[in-house]
Amino acid sequence: MGYLDKNRTDALNREKRERGIGNLDSPKNPFDYYEREYGTVPQDESRAPFRWVSEVSYKNVHRIVARGYDTTELMEEGYGVIEVLFVDYQARIPTVEEEKMLNYVMIMTLEDGLSSPAAISRIVARSKTFLTQACGAAIMAFGHAYGAYSAFGNRMDGYLKKMEEEDLSLEEAARQLVADNLHDEALGVSNLMLKDPAAQRMVARAEKLGVAGKYIEFQKEVVKAAQKASEEPVDLDMLGATAAVMLDLGFTPEATWSILAVTRSFGTGAHYIEEVERDGFLRLGEQLSPKEDYDGPEDRPVPPLKDREQFARSAVCKSPAEWKERFERMKEVRGSGFSIVEEIEDPSKKSGTKKVGRL
């Protein structure tokens, strides 16, 4: 389509200037609103046209190729999902031992009882959705506490880099990491697996297969440091074991995050199915929220609209002191968001090390 022709543009702008449109002709605006163009930006022919650029894969009418390997040929040669994950994320075929290890990790990740992803999948299922919506929603449960693989991995990388730069021993680096992050959900050491040997078994398997490397070694030091620093018994947990193994298999923290979130999503598909089979669907308004679970303001009359100014309380603060007073007061209003602090940054290169939590 391109820009509207000059005559029509001028005519429209003239009419609008005469009519005036709210504040759009305010002298405070750094532009003359009534000089603006209409229509879409013409096609840019000075640059190459848009293409879907990918290092990962391409396809044509007759083949699908990932990192140079035809995927049908990969299957015909006896490879499977595990190997294609290495191909897609690392552009390489894994060794037999690496394949075995990732297989092990994925089995361990497939099911986790009624934890957040399964709960979300079941909640979505009850609205009578497609199964894929529920599986997608379940993946969104992975954050920087539950399934905090990126946060864990990026932190490990950060301290390993620091170790090199500051010529620290592995033990010293682990001690610093623990001192800075002892109570963080992504430490990989906690009291969650004191009775369950699964995390230790996974690390032992990695060592037996010869795929254990610097991350497992470092995580073991982190466990020792955390055990010294903690007042309660703690040990390696599933996050710590799984993430360290994945990093030693050569996956980046973000690749680990996505691979394991997707792996868990298969399990949540089964939860979707079971939820529908057992409990059926919910209608809008069907579920009640008992008053005994409510701790907000007491029931009160709605003020007549004509009296609103009597009851209304402006949020506009005229001074920093006023602002601070209101801010603190609002922290008591649950659900207002004033007691949460976040630093939302671009997670392109790495994610999970920003502060996200309660004030």
């Binding site: 190459a48 848009f50 290092e55 990962v56 994950l85 699964a198 979130a261 598909g269």
Partner: protein, 298 residues
Amino acid sequence: MSREPTLKRKTALSYKTEEKTVMRGYSLSDLAEEGYSFYDAMFVLFQDRIPTEKEEKMLKYEMGVFLEHSMSPSAVGAIGVSAGRPNLPVCVAAAVSTFGGVHGPGAAHGYMLNKYLEKGFKEGKTVDEMAKKLVDDYMDAGRPVMGMGQPQHIDSDPRAEPIHLKQEELELEGVYLEFQRALEKYFHARRKEEGRSYVGVNVVGSGNTALMEIGFSPNAGWCIGSVVRGFSCAAHALFNMKKGRAWGASRNEPMVQMIDLSMIKYVGPEDRIVPKQEERQEYAKKQKEEGEYKKWVI
């Protein structure tokens, strides 16, 4: 710290205690230690059984070949969402959620086969007869026959026939493959008879047939297919997040970007004056009377 689940439910899938996580009665850790594959675990999860070696091989093939599909709605969805730089799982969730009535409609294909198998069983018809009936019913009604045709692989999906062949090689031919093969035969014959171009079986038609044959329900099969694609979509999103530009609109890139302003083609109503509030009622009534707006209603 409370370790109570957010949602309390009776479930036959799994339980998790301080000592272990158990799926369908099997300790997950023991399954992994014993050397079972991830594919085996999918049978345990969805079917409550350990599969035969051949069934395990079939699932391995099907999942592997479906994992990566370069630029499909799912990958494009993941890349599109990644442009705003949310957390990576959001991109993957969007990708998996693109699977619906057209993109990878595995469950729809499965339910279609089951419906006609059931009908044939009740009416005492053969599989071949029911396949013909399905093709005729769908094509007479102008409905797309699930599992046939792919908009990019226009003359044959490179994954489709090899999946059928693998199923035959593994001697996993059952009622579903018989039905699907017959369906394809009648579908091709009818299109030929009508002078229409050849449309091959797609990966849903062959892959889902294999999944159903090795015992997965339509939704379980759909879950397996849709979610396994999530792995590659995550890689596409990650590539764009790590090596591409946020927003996909930079004018400093040598190539015009995905949502560069010049990519927009507008075909809606012409630019027009916004009526003042005092003009509104009369303006709105006139608009309704004239009815021009109706052609834009979506």
